[in-house]
Symmetry: C2
Subunit: 168 residues, 2 copies
DNA sequence: TTAAACTTTCAAAATATTTTGAAAGCTTCG
DNA sequence: CGAAGCTTTCAAAATATTTTGAAAGTTTAA
């Protein structure tokens, strides 16, 4: 297989994977493109390489930035914005876990807490099943939450690494 | 909050969570309904409680069965099929992990293996970045795969538990 | 200030996904 | 066998999501 074809395949595969996990296909594809591109790209270049509109490119890039997966780069004496993706797969995974925890796990735990607190008649099979399922899932969700927190915190020594880098 | 309202909220929340993770909203809602219902339900009852069509209910239930989250129950002397969801949250998580691994992780690893094998000019920055990103993600994916496999296997002692149950 | 170079917005259009429901298929029973 | 009772199918309709692109907004430089 040739590089051009392989790059294309990677972009497609990443896009498909993304959409299977509730991430917009284009967002995943832009991310893929930036992952396999050594330099930072402009909106224009991204639009062209993926054949997407300016509006789409712009929105998608902002989303990627809000997910912490892509960053803007400003080049000396240029007005254009360049976009660059962190290529460390562990950072990517960490970042995605962090965001999904914040965006989805935390809110569902909040709801499950409320629902776990609902009182009812212990003799009522409906109530008993409801209560058991909800508290059970709540416990599991909290376990996952704690585990993620620990993993993410532990790895935040990355923070110090990046600080240290500045001084090298 | 009252039980009826709470049940409704749970169904909504589960549906929303599902759709954020690439699972059809209705599928998640049917699953939610079965999770908080002590007895097995018929298609008819599910259609009514969630106000969905027969076709939708049927498809959704078949999907849930193929995900291993719901099972059919046949009752003595009745022709109707009843549907019942396993209420053990750990089993649910295990089952989802197992299926997504099979459906999504395995295929992407296969593609990444192919793409990792693509040869190119080591002096070419594009090639180098492509190759590094792809092999890197491939390694991570394989790690996740191995970890899941180990976890799922370890837990298959559940298998023996269920066998033993039959003899009690 | 003005104009050029970019970026952002958002309503409408395009696309993709989900849902419907009527018809066709089974299976069982009399 | 025929019909009743259920389940499955699938094309069309409804809905939801994504994408477009032109216009508005912003920033910089002269």
């Amino acid at each position: 297989m040739e590089l051009t074809e392989a790059r294309q395949k990677f972009i497609e595969a990443w896009g498909k994977l993304g959409s299977e996990w509730g991430i917009n296909r284009t967002m995943a594809q832009v991310h893929a493109l930036l992952l396999i591109t050594p330099e930072a790209l402009t909106t224009e270049e991204i639009m062209e390489q993926l054949s997407i509109s300016r509006g789409n490119a712009n929105m998608t890039l902002r989303d990627l930035i809000s997910w912490g997966l892509v960053e803007k780069q400003l080049k000396q004496g240029e007005r254009k914005e360049y976009f660059y993706a962190d290529k460390d797969s562990w950072n990517i995974a960490r970042q995605v876990a962090k965001e999904r925890r914040k965006r989805e796990l935390d809110p569902i735990i909040k709801i499950l807490d409320e629902l776990s607190a609902v009182k009812g008649n212990e003799k009522d099979a409906d109530y008993k099943t409801f209560h058991k399922s909800v508290t059970d899932i709540n416990k599991l969700a909290k376990n996952v939450d704690k585990t993620l927190e620990t993993m993410l915190k532990a790895d935040e020594s990355w923070f110090w690494k990046s600080i240290l880098k500045v001084f090298k």
